[in-house]
Subunit: 303 residues, 2 copies
């Protein structure tokens, strides 16, 4: 037997210029029956309201990098998002506690990269992985990307709960609503809530054994000049082609003068988060990942 | 005989998160021989440096709405961009004067709409129209969009000079560089400078007589609810399909619940600037235009 899921949070607007999640929360707040299920409560939340009001990613710094357990306890961290993170932890957490108020958090994001419908997952929660596998079964177009790191030190909103992940959809510019991605994300949320309902009723009896995923290997920065300025752009060969393979000699970048810069690694990897606007300041142009089949753990006995 | 073009300004970064123009100016500043010609001077300028530093469209308000001749003289207008506009007018203008320092201004923009390579022109300068026609001859993919209004009260940077227009390219998200649009814009600039060189040498002997253009008819806002909130999204039928025809009954929007909202006009028009991020706050979702063949004036005798 498993402990049931009792409280699920759907979070939008962690980044204030990613409109899909913001408007989905608006929709669900007006028509809550869409996200109500019999066996658990669904909570709806806009995470960074001030940034939403200004249609900016953040006010002072990136909220979705603030949820390391140590940072949440650090009173010397007091910029706007550092305070907002502590408030979210109070509302949804506390993180790392068996008393955390939410059992599962799904955090809704968009990206300017052509990531389609992706799940970004950084937890080792067996339940979260089973949920991701369920979504991929329902929609085989879904991609699953495992981010590096452990749960305690995960910087992400969804790490406040024991179980969770982010849904990341694109390509869509910051500050833009796209109908296809809005409805695509909504459909995934419906499947996710259905999964919890089945899980609570014991109807999800045969856990998934394996799953095709992309495992983050490393981040690749733009080529830069001696002043640190970007000196080359993502090559048209890769632009809009997230999740495509990259092998030795394939072009990664094109310099402003047209010169091509190729991938020199020996290992075949896959490129994703290609040319995401918000990552220019973080210093990466794409992420390289390994495609592999993950053996899924069975449910934790103490779930 | 025509007066020659003596000074041309290429302006980037009027909006600080439109990277194509910003990085093209960087490139030309490092390799000025690319934009030098024998018969005129080329000036390079970043228009809104503070917004560029912050990768935001603007600091206080939209710089590219500040160049009405009356606004430029109004000392009661003093937000950041209102001051920046006056400085630009001092450097490039004064607007409306025969002594304006620049003869031609080309202002480089990007859009999240799929506008391809477009020229946005609001002047009645015969020279500017001939230049636009030349670019379309060199690249038939170029679209020419005439914005409403007269030159004196034009709010645009390019209206500081007697002749000018904007190059508007997309789709590209704010804060993103796309190689294809970077090189496409650069090529148009090369053609434009070549045109001035031919014009000055008297080699552009046969002016163009007519030109296919899109003439702005009206702006269409998003459907909104009683609180003024956006209640429907651009329909997938139109999304990414700028310059496509819209006829009675064609879907324009889809509400959050999936209901479709169709075009009710009797007149066949063409949609452009569809779902541009920066226009959400201005209250329009697209522009509708008439496609027509414009009879071009011959050069003004006093040019």
């Amino acid at each position: 037997m498993h402990n049931p899921i009792k409280k699920v949070a759907i979070v939008g607007g962690t980044h204030g210029n990613e409109l899909t999640g913001i408007y989905l929360i608006n929709k669900f707040q007006k028509t809550p029956e869409l996200v109500e299920r019999e066996s658990f409560e669904t909570h709806l939340l806009h995470a960074n309201k001030k940034a939403i009001d200004q249609c900016r990613r953040y006010i002072d710094s990136d909220l979705n990098r603030k949820f390391d357990v140590d940072a949440l306890k650090d009173d010397d961290l007091y910029d706007y998002e550092e305070l907002a993170a502590k408030q979210l932890n109070r509302i949804l957490g506390p993180k790392g506690s068996d008393e955390a108020q939410m059992d599962f958090i799904v955090d809704l994001h968009t990206t300017t990269s052509n990531m389609g419908l992706s799940i970004v997952i950084g937890t080792d929660s067996a339940l979260a992985w089973q949920a991701a596998a369920y979504l991929k079964e329902k929609n085989p177009q879904v991609h699953i990307f495992r981010w590096e790191g452990d749960t305690d030190h995960s910087p992400f909103v969804d790490s406040i709960a024991k179980h969770g992940f982010a849904i990341e959809v694109g390509a869509v510019p910051q500050g833009v609503l796209r109908a296809d991605l809005f409805f695509g994300t909504e459909k995934l949320i419906q499947h996710l809530l259905d999964f919890f309902e089945k899980f609570n009723r014991g109807e999800h009896k045969v856990p998934y054994g394996e799953l095709e995923i992309y495992d983050s290997v490393r981040l690749v920065d733009f080529p830069r000049d001696q002043d640190g300025e970007i000196a080359a752009m993502v090559h048209p060969y890769l632009q809009d082609n997230d999740y495509s393979p990259v092998e030795k000699g394939d072009p990664l970048f094109v310099a402003m003068d047209g010169r091509e810069i190729a991938y020199q690694g020996e290992e075949k990897l896959y490129a994703l988060f290609i040319n995401e606007a918000a990552y220019y300041e973080k210093g990466f142009a794409m992420c390289l990942a390994k495609k592999r089949t993950l053996e899924l753990a069975l449910f934790d006995p103490g779930l």
